[in-house]
Amino acid sequence: MAMTITEKIMAFNSGRDSVVPGQLVWVDVHTVMTMDYLGKQCFKAFESLGAKTLFDRDRVICVSDHLVPPPTPEYATMLNEWREIVKSYDIPNFYDLGRQGIAHQIMVEQGHVLPGKISIGTDSHANTYGAVGAVGNAIGVTDAAIAMATGKCWFRVPETVKFHIKGEWQPWVMAKDLSLHIMGMMHWNGHLIYKALEYCGPAIDALDIAGRMTLCNMTVDLGAKNGIIAPDAKTAAYLQSVQKGDWNMIASDADAHYDAVYEVDVTNIGPTIARPDKLDDTVPVEQLVGTKFNKAFVGTCTNGRTEDFAIIAKILDGKKIHRDVNMICIPASQQVYLECIQKGYFEILVKAGVAIETPSCGPCAGIHTGVAGDGDIMLSAGNRNMKGRMGSKNAQIYLTSPAVVAASAVKGVITDPRSENW
């Protein structure tokens, strides 16, 4: 029976030859991720189930990302309690302050996510794992606790919607622009709810893993259950040195059934911005050129990778951040941080006047490291722009690509990165 890649993964990981959309299955999960914010509650819930041990302590991945370094004594205490409980279970894969990163970055870059397998995490952007051909899914404390005990999680097999992306990427256009373009096209409040989104086509083949992560990351904000890109030679090369476990190539059957198929020509997509408050209120950058803002931010599980900072460094090389703008950059992990130092990107950024912070979710979660105050106009390469998302409800958040943020930060107003030879 012909199946999409998501259907195959749900079938093979539930001991079935095939599944159909709507079917309810208990699947074997490859890894379960939890983090500082909800992790203690996951372990407590796990303890209440009556299971004697974790299903596999190598496959319970613990990350400190939302609260590090702790901005308040309360959060510091919470982190201490989190550390105690993780240590008490002797979890080998504990990415705590000093070895930290945003959970979704850690899961992929450290090889805890594998093609053809299912990984779940207690944070909504777990969809990111689809970048390497896994089903990545966000779940709550209950599901995490049950998976920690049993290695299993229930799923309703989703219908799959295919996005065939063709054409040539234009200069200064990034995966984030495509992501925002699709957000504007499909709208974020319900139309792709519960669906598996499968990205394919020549423009997807051309994307590096970082770009694929950006694209799959934001499928949660389209309402989707998961976003996925079939593994290829780039996936294999990326995973080669980090993968923890075996995997096989997997792809949708040519005659698989899709709920809908959309074709997008990336040749026609330019830098794109979502205006404040609504993710799907997207416009080409040209419409906002000259708009004033005072805070610039690049980081997060969406756009905090080495490839993103490479673009920023290219734009900022020899330039200065405009005097009316404060710019913060946060690498998505310690590994990204180190790579950016080694490649010289952060030297360029610091010389330009960018404040670089230690890896964390940062102001994207509205908790710390540069949150928005009343009247702030943020230009962010994060993933959400709803009122209050980055701090004050009286701030505005424009959401865009790292290239637009960097070019605009130099000019002090929203700027089309294609307008100059950087």
Binding site: T142, D143, I367
Partner: protein
């Protein structure tokens, strides 16, 4: 026949998860009574005080698309509503994370297309969980709903997924989950 009657609060716009439970409570322990004290605090200024939503005494919430959207895996949105004595939420669609959490807690999140267009806050509704029918007693309109899947009903009858799994761990049938 299981019939629930009560007053409804009807959302006039999208209800977001991060407004149902505002940020300072995201790390609170999961406890229906505690979580209910500030549930919906960010949704409407009228609810932004201790027991602000709960004290209105609503039994149902009626909403349009993507109820509890905007991300967030926190379960407090659902447990908060449970603690505030909400017996069911009727909406055109639900954000998948909170839909899942609701199933796991045995809280009825019932899909009923466009029900929000024919209900006003304060209307008296009657929900028949046997046939999925929702009656608006205040204006006489009747709405159908998407049937609850057998698994969802089973989890609800067990008092939530934690109890469902606890029983299976205790009796050794956990390995049979398929």
């Amino acid at each position: 026949m299981a019939i629930i009657k009560g007053k409804a609060w009807v959302a006039k716009t999208y209800v977001m998860s991060f407004d149902m439970i505002v940020q300072k409570f995201w790390t609170s322990p999961i406890d229906p009574i505690e979580n209910s004290k500030w549930v919906m605090a960010g949704v409407d200024e009228a609810f932004n005080k201790e027991n602000g939503f709960k004290d209105f005494g609503y039994t149902f919430i009626v909403a349009g698309h993507n109820f509890a959207g905007g991300g967030k895996s926190i379960e407090h949105c659902v447990t908060g509503l449970m603690g505030a004595n909400i017996k069911a939420v009727f909406a055109t669609s639900f954000a998948r994370l909170q839909f899942r959490n609701a199933i796991n807690y045995g809280m009825p999140f019932i899909t009923s297309k466009d029900i929000n267009l024919d209900c006003e806050t304060g209307d008296e509704l009657e929900y028949n969980s046997d046939n999925g029918e929702i009656k608006n007693l205040s204006n006489g309109k009747i709405f159908s709903s998407v049937p609850v899947a057998p698994f969802v009903a089973e989890v609800g009858a067990a008092g939530g997924l934690m109890n469902f799994i606890r029983t299976k761990i205790a009796d050794g049938s956990i390995a049979n989950l398929h």
